[in-house]
Structure formats: structure tokens, C-alpha cells
């Protein structure tokens, strides 16, 4: 564990450094508060600090105040070293953001014990952050496939539609659904079905750019959002996804299974400003048109041209499907 020592007095610095190095710490020693703050500011800076109270320029409590202003970084456990013993001084020190204080001259065993308390607190913080990140992941991802869950992928789509509208670019919706998935579950069991879903997720991710979004929309339904994408690229991508699933059997606990997928494509630039729910509904209609046309295929959702109502039409992506 790295620890920062800030003390303008050389003897004190030397004594602290040796004591802490013997206790197994990696010590960074500086001689004033400004240098201490500079060391503690970066996200990868030391998380334990021993700060002399009285230093020229920025003093120990001043360093504590500056460090505590930076809320986004990991917690830094700070101990003030002081020969000040009045209650008012101690209160002022702790109110500046210090976690503890130690009276000079320090006893080596007490110093090490106080720092162990700091380590316990930092360890607790690490565990809390880890738990929070785990919960954040669980709240935003599908537990089986690791893809974005339905709520998040729809939010991401909404954001991308707003951006493409502002920037006059095109966002593409690919609504994908595994063909005859119910019969996979019925014939080979749910474990095999889960294997198919997981492998499909992998192949979808491998088929898109790193900045596109892939989410699990429902049971065997997936939603892919292609950002800033022209129609020819979208059709090619949809076809690649279809082939990525169909061309190679999917490994499962019941052996390799032949799986196919149907897709509905929607190009936002053809639809103008419409609510995301409406666009998803149209992409879904295109998907079901692909199913009706024999599955393992791709259909495009197109708005009815020069129509007074909002009825849509579904087309083959003619440039790709001969």
C-alpha cells in the first residue's frame, strides 16, 4: 500500500519514512502541503496520507479541505500529525476533512495501529464500490447474456435517435428474433436454450462495431442499434448477422444446434421524428414480415410514401436480396 508523508521537517520525515517502510508501506515523502495535494489529486494517487499540521504555504488541514473537494476520486484516508493538543485544534483538524490525528512525537506502534484502522476503512470502501458496481451492472444488463437489458437498450436507442435527428444522420434499428426458439427449448431443454441465447449474444456483438449497441429485448428477441450508419451498411450488417447465426451450428449442452434468425430493419432517416415506441413497433412489424416470408431473412420497415395516414409498408432490402 502506498502512503504519502508530508512534513517540512526533515527529521520527522526521515523517521516516518523508515518506520513505515519497515512496516511494509511504499512511502512517498514530500516537504510541503502543495506537493502533498498534487500527489493526492490524481485518481491513482496514494489513498493513505500522513500530513503534518503546520507546514509553510498549504498546511495539513488545507490539504484535507482540497482533497475532500474532489468527490469523484477514491477515498483518501488522511491523518494529521500535530503537536497541537487543544480541543479546538482537534475539532478544527477533523472538520477540515481529516480522518484522524496523531500527536507528535509519535509512538511507532500507535502510528502503525492508526494506519491499520485507515486500511480497514479503505478496504471497506473498496468492497462497497465493488458491490455498487455489481449492482449497477445487474440493473443495466441481462443476467444470462450480459447484453444491455430492455430498459437500457431502449434508452440508448432514444438517445441515439435524438442525436441523429440533431446531426441529420441515420440511426438503424435491427429487431432480431431467433426462429423456432420455442421448439429448441421444448426439444433440447432450457439449458440448451440458454446456451443458444448466450452464443447468439456473442455472435451479435462480434458482428457490430464497438460503438454500436446490442441488447436483449425479450425472451429470444434482440435489439441492435447501429449509430451514424448509411442504408447500404445497415443492410450489409443485417445480412452478416443473419449469416453469423445460420452458417455455423450453435454449440449447446445438447450438442451443436442449427439455428436461424429473422431481422426487421428500420432506418430512422426515412421516418422523421417519431416516438421510439412507434419505431420499435414498425421494426417489429418488419421482423414479423421476415418471419412470414419463411424466416432466416431480413425485411425493411418503410413508411408509406405520400400517404395521409401513418400506415407503413415492409420491403425486401432489394440491393442485397436477389
Amino acid at each position: 500500500m502506498r502512503i504519502l508523508i508530508a512534513d517540512d521537517e526533515m527529521m520527522s520525515r526521515k523517521l516516518l519514512q523508515k518506520t513505515l517502510e519497515r512496516a511494509g508501506y511504499e512511502v512517498i515523502a514530500v516537504e510541503n502541503g502543495r506537493l502533498a495535494a498534487d500527489q493526492l489529486f490524481p485518481a491513482d494517487g496514494p489513498r493513505l496520507a500522513l500530513l503534518d499540521w503546520v507546514m509553510p504555504g498549504l498546511d495539513g488541514p488545507g490539504v484535507c479541505r482540497e482533497v475532500r473537494k474532489r468527490k469523484e476520486q477514491s477515498y483518501v484516508y488522511m491523518v494529521l500529525l500535530t503537536s497541537k493538543e487543544s480541543k479546538e485544534d482537534v475539532v478544527a483538524g477533523l472538520e477540515s476533512g481529516a480522518d484522524d490525528f496523531l500527536t507528535k512525537p509519535f509512538d511507532p506502534e500507535e502510528l502503525k495501529a492508526r494506519l491499520r484502522t485507515g486500511l480497514r476503512i479503505l478496504n471497506l470502501e473498496d468492497r462497497l464500490v465493488e458491490a455498487r458496481e455489481k449492482m449497477r451492472f445487474q440493473a443495466t444488463h441481462d443476467g444470462l447474456t450480459g447484453l444491455w437489458n430492455r430498459g437500457v437498450i431502449v434508452d440508448l436507442l432514444r438517445r441515439e435517435l435524438a442525436r441523429s435527428s440533431r446531426e441529420r444522420t441515420c440511426t438503424v434499428i435491427l429487431m432480431c428474433d431467433l426462429d423456432h426458439f420455442k421448439s429448441v427449448n421444448d426439444t433440447y431443454g432450457h439449458l440448451a436454450g440458454d446456451d443458444v441465447l448466450k452464443e447468439t449474444a456473442k455472435r451479435l456483438l462480434a458482428s457490430v462495431r464497438t460503438y454500436d449497441f446490442v441488447g436483449r429485448y425479450g425472451g429470444e428477441e434482440f435489439l441492435v442499434v447501429l449509430n451514424n450508419c448509411d442504408p447500404a451498411f445497415a443492410f450489409a450488417r443485417a445480412e452478416e448477422i443473419r449469416k453469423a447465426i445460420a452458417q455455423k451450428p450453435v454449440p449447446s449442452s445438447s450438442g451443436p444446434l442449427p439455428i436461424t434468425i429473422s431481422l426487421g430493419i428500420l432506418l430512422s432517416q426515412e421516418w422523421g421524428r417519431r416516438p421510439v415506441e412507434e419505431l420499435l413497433h414498425e421494426a417489429d412489424a418488419a421482423l414479423y414480415a421476415a418471419k412470414a416470408a419463411g424466416r432466416n431473412g431480413v425485411k425493411v420497415a418503410r413508411p408509406k410514401i405520400a400517404s395521409a395516414d401513418s400506415e407503413s409498408q415492409v420491403h425486401d432490402p432489394v440491393r442485397l436480396r436477389r
Binding site: 521537517e9 527529521m11 523517521l15 523508515k18 519497515r22 503537536s83 507528535k104
Partner: protein
């Protein structure tokens, strides 16, 4: 028998029996003390209470680390006088501190020599 200015057992405990470190601390003190003392004298001569308090505070820290109790107490008194702006006491308190300081430096040299001998015998 003059009063012991450095509590050697306490200093040894503070450095966790690391005689090399103890020697280093004694040498750092020997080098730094005259400069700090001069700064204190300057503060007293100019009746600058803030400077007296600051320099006495620094000296008190060094002396405490060295387990030099009597000198640390004399520095603490000067620090307090500085904080309380008791200018009339400065000369007397500073003279008293300097007397203790002189004795401390004499004992310091003996200490350094002893530590060096001890270290050599430890090495052999």
C-alpha cells in the same frame, strides 16, 4: 553529573532499535539545529512574535523527535510566549533555551560517537 539532555532509551524505542536511523537523525539534527537557532534568535532580536512562535514550533518538533525533553520544553515555552505576544519574556526565554541547546550539542556529540561504536561492534 549534568542532566541528560537526550533520553536514549526513549529515542531507541522511537526508532525501533534501528541504530543506523538513530545516527542519521542525530546528524540531521546537528546540521539543522544551528540554522533553526539562528532563525529563532533573529525573531527574538526583531521582536517578531509570529516568527518566534513558528521557529520555536519547528524546534520543538525536532527536539521531541530526538527525545530531547528539556530542550523541547524550553522551545515549547518560547512558542507559547510568541503566540501570546509576550515580547518582554523573549530575551530571557531565548537565553535559557540557548543554554540548554549548548549542553544538548555537547551530549549529542558523545551520543553520535557512542552510536558509531555500538554500530561497529554490532557489525563485528
Amino acid at each position: 553529573m549534568p542532566q541528560a539532555m537526550i533520553d536514549l532509551p526513549e529515542l531507541l524505542a522511537r526508532v525501533e532499535n534501528d541504530r543506523e536511523l538513530m545516527r542519521e537523525l542525530l546528524l540531521i539534527f546537528k546540521e539543522e539545529f544551528p540554522q533553526r537557532l539562528q532563525a529563532l534568535r533573529d525573531g527574538v532580536a526583531s521582536m517578531n512574535a509570529e516568527r518566534v512562535a513558528a521557529e520555536a514550533h519547528a524546534l520543538k518538533g525536532m527536539l521531541s523527535n530526538l527525545a530531547a525533553g528539556p530542550a523541547a520544553n524550553a522551545a515549547a515555552r518560547l512558542e507559547q510566549l510568541g503566540r501570546n505576544q509576550e515580547l518582554s519574556e523573549f530575551q530571557e526565554a531565548c537565553a535559557s533555551f540557548e543554554n540548554i541547546g549548548k549542553e544538548l550539542l555537547l551530549q549529542l556529540d558523545v551520543c553520535i560517537a557512542e552510536v558509531c561504536v555500538d554500530e561497529d561492534s554490532h557489525r563485528r
